[in-house]
């Protein structure tokens, strides 16, 4: 599946979080700072990104991304 736009990406990621956290998520959100972030949530996010975009994120990618927009850019660069 080709990498779609940033808005769709944010919808995809926010849908993986609890409803009360979804409202807080936008392109500037660092998902690592969310209350629900955990090893389980990392696994779910990585798997979903792999499934949708055929890109497997690693530890460095998460360290380097301080916002969802930055994570989106990393996925784009790895997917191209």
């Amino acid at each position: 599946m080709p990498l779609s736009d940033l808005e769709s990406f944010i919808d995809l990621i926010s849908g993986l979080f609890k409803k009360n956290e979804q409202n807080q998520i936008d392109e500037n959100t660092d998902i690592k700072q969310l209350k629900e972030w955990s090893s389980l949530q990392t696994m779910i996010v990585v798997n979903e990104i792999d499934r949708k975009y055929n890109v497997i994120l690693d530890v460095e990618d998460f360290k380097n991304a301080e916002s969802l927009k930055q994570l989106f850019n990393i996925i784009q660069s790895k997917g191209s």
Partner: protein
């Protein structure tokens, strides 16, 4: 790539033994209800079997072996070799396989070997016993594969406690000049040895007073140096990137048609990883048996345990062509294609 095939060896039967002590993941403390439901839904593990204090992998494997020997009608004196795969031996020294030879009542002429392997251990062990028997002409052998890995998991580790479970298995192997070939792909990724490790478990970092200090790795994850440590994201990356190409490489190397294979019995790491690899292989769920729900991740025992439990649901598996693939600690990968010809799958033992 270590691709190889082995002739003249067949699998006659498989048995598995689990501890009676069943622990429900729904009863885990320190989780909010929503969080726990999401966890169980994602990893697919509702119950786990946890060995009691001094119940070891050897005990479980011996029970499985005794049951299998009876079910097959084998004579113990005819068993020429045994291979014991575990990461939770009775002792560091001596090896456990020798004592198992004695405890099982096998002949002193039986050759006994220990193999230190985890998640890929069933395929590693199968490749070793099969090649040993094929080249030597020995007639009957036992592959015992099991772990009591729960003994290594920190009780304060929310990431690993809900996953791991204990089991011991026995697989009966014999020489048969008419057996179908077994095909293997065994590979090593030793640069990632720290991805899954018990840091203070040997002589590189000898156990000291500091080994018993709890360190907070992340919220909800506290471990001592003597506990199993896992870099979850690294292991997930490895599983998603490497396993499907490893299996496809095996099939391509030996020009085996994926559609001719009846089942893909993969290491039961967790449901998310299992089903993601299945999707990458384009394998439907009805060809991807799982024992996760009731038995969790039993380390090296997941593949034979899954075969034994699935055989009670769908007996077609006892007469089928299968891919077996284990992956994990090491890091290591082992994939195989084997053919079952009406093998015996003993009833599951609970002790």
């Amino acid at each position: 790539m270590a691709y190889f095939s082995i002739s003249n060896i067949q699998i006659n039967g498989i048995a598995a033994a689990v501890p009676k002590n069943s622990v429900s993941n729904f009863s885990l403390e320190d989780f909010e209800k929503d969080e726990l439901n999401k966890l169980i839904d994602t990893i697919g593990i509702e119950n786990r079997r946890v060995s009691v204090h001094n119940q070891c992998a050897s005990d479980l494997c011996i029970e499985a072996a005794n049951k299998l020997i009876i079910d097959l009608g084998w004579n113990k004196n005819e068993i020429d070799c045994l291979f014991f795969v575990t990461q939770t031996p009775d002792f560091h020294l001596p090896g456990t396989a020798l004592n198992i030879q004695h405890r099982l009542g096998l002949s002193k002429s039986c050759a006994a070997f220990d193999i230190n392997q985890g998640c890929a251990g069933y395929v590693y062990g199968l490749s070793l016993i099969a090649s040993f028997m094929s080249s030597s002409g020995l007639k009957k052998g036992l592959l015992l594969v099991g772990d009591t890995i729960t003994k290594l998991v920190s009780p304060l580790d929310k990431s690993l406690l809900p996953v791991f479970s204990d089991c011991g298995t026995a697989t009966a192997i014999s020489f048969n000049s008419e057996a179908s070939k077994m095909y293997f792909n065994i590979t090593s990724e030793g640069e990632s040895f720290e991805s899954i490790i018990v840091p203070d478990s040997g002589f590189k970092n000898q156990v000291s007073e500091e080994s018993f200090n709890y360190c907070e790795i992340a919220p909800g994850i506290q471990r001592q140096g003597i506990h199993l440590a896992m870099k979850g994201l690294e292991v997930l990356n490895f599983s998603l990137k490497k396993v499907a190409p490893h299996i496809d490489g095996l099939l391509q190397n030996f020009e085996l048609n994926k559609n001719s294979l009846d089942y893909f019995v993969l290491h039961q790491a967790n449901k998310l990883i299992l089903e993601s690899i299945g999707a990458k292989l384009n394998v439907p769920l009805n060809k991807l048996p799982s024992s996760l729900k009731e038995f969790g991740n039993t380390s090296c025992a997941t593949i034979p345990l899954t075969i034994v439990t699935y055989a009670k649901i769908n007996s077609n598996i006892i007469d089928s062509k299968l891919v077996l693939s284990g992956f994990g600690v090491g890091l290591s990968l082992g994939s195989a294609v084997v053919e079952f010809n009406n093998i015996i799958c003993s009833d599951l033992i609970e002790i």
